[in-house]
Symmetry: C2
């Protein structure tokens, strides 16, 4: 079934598309200070997880767990931070950030602390390839 | 089946027990600046959602959605913030915060911004009673 879905322009601006799970679009935030991905369930006009129907919600949980587990392994993260905030961008999106005890804002949450440091083209391509291989066998 | 589970002392210190869902303990953070609850799945030695077995994980999602939906209604929240961080307290716990555009840290996340303002005894009792009625018919 074709569904209407348009990625919020702020997310499109701040991130690269890594790939697609059955429900969610997977983005990589353009900030090389942390491995930072965002899952965006491709459903219109949803801003809270509980607003998804039950089957979709369970599928998004599956996608989130797959992503968190893969990121924690790939980046040897001390802790995953998983969060649906959306105070600025209301379109439902779920942050997945691989935190290290040595990263620049540990142990604080990352939001609003430091200006983003964009990837170089080569770093971006390497990270996208790494994530695509691990998550989508590409 | 009896299970070993001990609430992390930092959570016990910062919050009051509201009640119990089938899997999670429900806490109210002792900060009257925001309606702020925490779900703690009662399983030992788990720090990430993906480490829960599949059935438990789906049940926690159910509890989280019930809680988020109820809090958004009760407090007419502009946005729910739902997050599993755990950089300081590794025991898996999931924050549910009812945010208002008029609250003191909007639109930033709440962590690390303002010192907690404890409830008075009367405010605490009223809030606990309100949550118990809405969530546990008590």
């Amino acid at each position: 079934m074709a569904r209407m879905f348009t990625l919020h322009p702020q997310l499109a601006k701040d991130a690269f598309v890594v790939g697609e799970f059955p429900v969610s679009l997977l983005l990589l935030i353009n900030d090389c200070q942390y491995p930072w991905c965002v899952l965006v369930p491709q459903r219109e006009s949803i801003s809270e997880i509980y607003q998804l129907d039950n089957a979709t919600r369970v599928q998004v949980l599956e996608e989130s767990c797959r992503l968190a587990s893969t990121m924690q392994q790939l980046y040897a993260a001390d802790k995953m931070n998983v969060a649906a905030l959306g105070n600025v961008v209301p379109q439902l999106h779920i942050h997945h950030i691989a935190r290290q005890k040595t990263d620049p804002t540990w142990p604080m949450p990352v939001w609003g602390k430091l200006a983003a440091q964009p990837y170089t083209d080569a770093e971006r391509d390497a990270r996208l390839q790494q994530l695509r291989r691990a998550l989508f066998n590409k």
